[in-house]
């Protein structure tokens, strides 16, 4: 109890105003606050990271977060040109070309779609792996934040070339400056296509980008007028993405005349427009509020927004000083914030993999996060995802438990359960057998495969998981940590995997579950195999609970 009280006391002391960062007090530094930092700045700390951070202290740890731990090489995506593969040798669309039957035309389309899908899937795997490995945790987490803010969807932007390039740009610039990002946004081919700016021409401006640029990406609703939207749209005319997937300014469709935007008049183009937006007091406040809400996990009060908006203004929107300030701010570590944030699906899955040491199979995290409500590069609306409690529905809460079950190898397609060579088949009775003689319950035990939800099943097949199983040794893992009895295992798991502890009653349910599984495993022909399965089921149960969704 005592350390907890100390944290609370330290956090309370930290609430003394700290306008000058140099004079500010350092945050309390202990296992709990280090975990908190790595949960929010990255995707959860490993035991080694915690030890290292405790040794290094807050300043060095936060400075380390600004640097990559492993180099990342950007990829050169393939430009899949729909117009090319759709033409026969006679330069007539394949559908009508005499050189192709309708089947051949469809096959060609299918082929190129597959090429594009494959390169996107490989890119996703690479990025998910980087997050799991904590190669550059802060950069990756902030990139995820920018993707949620500067939304673009592959449902609209069909070529993956522009999508991959946008993500690489966001990742490259994620810790640069908001000024640079906002300038980049109005020249990003994926964004220009997503919000119809390729057809925003002087004669009849298309307002889509102009409006969202102000409402969602820089100022927030209420800080501009409808006239400003129209004028901004005019300033954006002619900014397009070309067939090569590059930015192209086309003066012939640009409206070069004078515009009045937010009180300023001139022959503005995209660059001037962005500078005008950045000049608005509302802009720094808007972005500071969004960043605080995301990384603190709680709506900031006005004073906090002002303080952090000032930090952006004073540093010309530089982001590194901003994050340094936040992560060295004792108030970032106040007890009411720790564990009071609902993890998003990608974070939950990446964090789960890090915590358990399971290396997810390719394509799984993309499929699973989609099932949990966060399809990477397909946010539900232009505003992105509803974060916080918005992530949790009755359905998505169940799916988080299912995804954990798949990753732990306790849920798998029935085809695999049929295989006798499968180690888990040793503890599960064969499909369709009357009952589990070891099960004291009334119900015959069925292989979980037979009960897989339709979408879970689909996800497994899409990810090619029919023969996949995790490499994990939970028996050895708990033993090494000295957690041997059922109580010790439950307490150890809760301590290292949960930020918000479960209550006594739930703890008792978990202990009872383990006790029963232990007794059954002992009677199994392969006791160790059965006990490993039991520990995996327990782990999956724990990650299905509400407390495990918080960090």
């Amino acid at each position: 109890m005592l350390p907890q009280l100390l944290i609370v006391a330290a956090a309370w002391l930290g609430q003394v105003p700290s306008g000058d960062p140099a004079a500010a007090q350092l945050p309390p530094w202990n296992e709990r606050t280090v975990r908190h930092l790595f949960d929010r700045a990255g995707f959860g700390a490993t035991e080694a990271e915690i030890a290292e951070a405790l040794q290094a202290g807050p300043r060095a740890t936060v400075a380390g977060l600004m640097l990559p731990r492993r180099p990342w090489t950007e990829v050169e995506p393939v430009l899949v040109r729909w117009e090319e593969f759709n033409l026969g040798p006679d330069q007539v669309p394949l559908k009508t070309s005499k050189y192709a039957t309708p089947e051949e035309a469809a096959a060609s389309m299918q082929h190129w779609r597959a090429v594009d899908r494959t390169q996107f899937s490989q890119y996703c795997d690479r990025w998910f792996s980087s997050m799991i490995a904590h190669d550059d945790p802060l950069r990756d987490h902030v990139t995820l934040f920018w993707h949620g803010l500067f939304t673009t969807s592959f449902r609209v932007v069909k070529r993956k070339y522009e999508i991959i390039q946008q993500h690489q740009w966001l990742r490259r610039d994620s810790l640069s400056s908001f000024r640079q990002l906002l300038h980049g946004l109005v020249e990003d081919p994926a964004m220009l296509q997503f919000l119809d700016n390729n057809t925003n021409v002087s004669e009849h401006p298309n307002e889509n980008l102009g409006r969202e640029l102000m409402e969602l990406y820089s100022l927030g609703e209420g800080n501009y007028t409808e006239d400003d939207v129209r004028e901004a749209a005019r300033a954006l005319t002619g900014s397009t993405g070309d067939p090569e997937g590059r930015f192209a300014f086309r003066p012939e469709i640009h409206d070069a005349g004078p515009k009045t935007i937010l009180g300023r008049t001139g022959n503005f183009g995209r660059k001037e427009l962005v500078d005008i937006l950045l000049e608005q007091p509302a802009c720094a406040n808007f972005i500071a509020r969004r960043l605080l809400a995301y990384f603190e996990g709680s709506a900031p009060d006005a004073a906090r927004v002002d303080e952090y908006a000032r930090c952006l203004r004073e540093n010309d929107y530089q982001l590194q000083p901003w994050f340094e300030k936040l992560f060295l701010d004792p108030r970032f570590y106040r007890e009411e914030l720790i564990g009071a944030r609902v993890q998003g699906p990608i974070e939950f899955l990446v964090g789960f993999a890090r915590k358990t040491g399971i290396e997810p199979p390719p394509n799984f995290l993309f499929q699973a996060s989609a099932l949990l409500g966060q399809t990477f590069y397909a946010p539900p609306t232009v505003r992105g995802w509803d974060e916080g409690l918005g992530w949790i529905t009755n359905d998505s809460l169940l799916q988080r438990g299912n995804a954990a079950g798949v990753l732990l190898g306790v849920l798998f397609p029935e085809e695999r359960a049929m295989s006798e060579s499968d180690p888990s088949a040793a503890v599960e009775p064969a499909m369709g057998s009357a009952s589990d003689p070891l099960d004291p319950g009334m119900m015959p035990e069925q292989a979980p495969a037979a009960q897989l939800g339709a979408t879970v099943r689909q996800m497994l097949f899409r990810a090619g998981l029919t023969n996949w199983g995790p490499t994990v040794d939970l028996i050895g893992d708990f033993e090494r940590r000295g957690a041997l009895s059922d109580e010790q295992i439950v307490d150890d798991a809760c301590k290292r995997w949960l930020v918000v502890p479960v209550d006594q009653e739930t703890r008792r349910v978990l202990i009872d579950f383990l006790a029963r599984e232990r007794a059954l495993a002992a009677k199994n022909s392969d006791p160790a195999g059965a006990w490993e399965i039991a520990l995996r089921r327990f782990t999956r149960l724990l990650f299905s609970l509400p407390e495990a969704q918080l960090n």
Binding site: T199, N200, V342, N394, Q399, M442, A450, V502
Partner: protein, 429 residues
């Protein structure tokens, strides 16, 4: 170990789960759904007595993205419309004219065949020119206004259905009272204190596991929130309530949808499947008062206007067509009212991308046997626009809400809405 009741529920869990197995249907251990916890008497508490205040259901259909009202209900006699829409207008010859004999110079988009049929049967009401003062052109802010029925939007508190839930219906705490089928929850349903039930694909609305795991999961889910720090207690409590509702409702929903034999053929798209799920729940003893479903994205800024809009309206039409046909001849038909709305219409003049930008007023649709079919409200003028080139609304959407509250749910509109919104005569007595 649990009680007999718990065991029954576990059997229900297992029964529901087994429906998923390909060969598991024979000899499945199905169980009776949990009996409703509250009677109709408690349901009506706090509401004004009305003939149909019991058992009536509302199906909210949200057309997100801003549906182009002018090509949904086409003013085919209006030259100003055709001048403003050289490439995106629906030609007079193409549209499904409503009732020319009665002087209605409107036609449905050609994709709305079922809509026209219902209109001709007097089962579809069109309320034209619906909007609100000082229109907002942000999707999100405008939806906030539609969802809360208040100009302040989210900052004003619960959604309008959420207020109904937490006010006149508060005596019934069952999550099933308000059901959303799909991914994102519309804010109209939100209540800070009352649960809602939301699922996407019923076959997947399940936590998969062996019986012993399900038992432990269930036991853990039954534990009420507590024992955490003060500031997090509410969050954990809310998550626990969500988990508990999922655990108790998932087997019921699986059973209801898995066994359902519709009387109509539903189209093979998500919207159609969601409506099929709603019909399945209605037919399996779910006592929900509000069902919600969404269709989109109607944000047709560019050349997709013509093709995408037609496709979306086709889904709306085929989905609702099947749904109404499915309910026909059952007691649910007369108890079901469908209400379609969108956050705004689109700019009258099209843009160069052969699309349309965000606009203001648009039509709302009410469907069902108890609807007073026909045209309601007043058509907005296509040539007398506001300074921004947008339609000027003629009917406030809260008058439509007021009609639903008063005539359908028997609830005084003033309990839910800002005062002063006169109900319209949209429903038959």
């Amino acid at each position: 170990m649990g009680t007999q009741r718990d065991l029954d529920r576990r059997q229900a869990l297992a029964g529901g789960l087994s429906l998923l197995g390909a060969a598991a249907l024979s000899g499945c251990r199905s169980a009776k759904p949990t009996p409703p916890a509250a009677s109709e008497a408690t349901l009506a508490a706090g509401s004004v007595p009305a003939a149909r205040s019991n058992g009536t259901r509302l199906v909210l259909v949200e057309l997100f993205g801003g549906n182009d009202g002018l090509t949904t209900v086409v003013p085919f006699k209006d030259d100003a419309f055709y001048r403003a829409r050289p490439t995106t207008a629906i030609a007079e010859a193409e549209c499904l004219k409503l009732d020319v004999a009665r002087g209605i110079d409107r036609g449905f988009h050609p994709a709305l065949l079922n809509f026209r049929e219902r209109f001709n049967q007097g089962q579809l009401a069109i309320v034209e020119g619906v909007g609100y003062p000082n229109p907002v052109y942000s999707h999100f802010k405008s939806f906030e206004i539609w969802h809360t029925a208040r100009p302040e939007g989210l900052s004003s508190g619960d959604g309008w259905i959420g207020r109904l839930r937490a006010g006149p219906w508060r005596a019934d705490p069952r999550p099933e009272l308000v059901v959303h089928v799909g991914g994102n929850l519309p804010y109209s349903l939100s209540s800070a204190t009352q649960p809602i039930l939301a699922f996407d694909t019923p076959e997947n609305f399940v936590w998969v596991g062996s019986n012993r795991e399900i038992e432990a999961y269930d036991d853990a889910g039954k534990v009420p929130a507590g024992g955490t720090g003060k500031s997090k207690a509410d969050l954990v409590k809310q998550l626990r309530a969500t988990l508990r509702a999922a655990q108790t409702q998932s087997p019921r929903i699986l059973e209801a949808t898995g066994n359902y034999q519709p009387r109509a053929e539903y189209p093979e798209h998500e919207f159609g499947r969601s409506l099929r799920s709603i019909a399945a729940l209605m037919n399996s003893g779910f006592e929900s008062r509000v069902y919600s479903v969404a269709l989109g994205n109607f944000d047709t800024h560019a050349s997709e206007q013509n093709t995408l809009h037609a496709e979306l309206l086709g889904k709306l039409d085929s989905g609702l067509g099947a749904f109404l046909k499915d309910l026909e001849g059952t007691p649910h038909a007369e108890n079901t009212l469908v209400l379609c709305f969108s956050e705004f219409g689109r700019r009258v003049e099209e843009n160069f991308s052969r699309g349309t930008d965000h606009g203001s007023a648009g039509p709302m649709f009410l469907l069902g046997p108890m609807v007073r079919g026909g045209m309601h409200g007043e058509s907005p003028s296509v040539d007398k626009l506001d300074a921004g080139g947008n339609l000027i609304h003629t009917v406030d959407f809260r008058r439509v809400y007021a009609s639903v509250l008063e005539s359908w749910f028997g609830v005084k509109p003033d309990l839910i809405l800002p005062s002063g919104f006169q109900p319209m005569d949209l429903l038959r007595a």
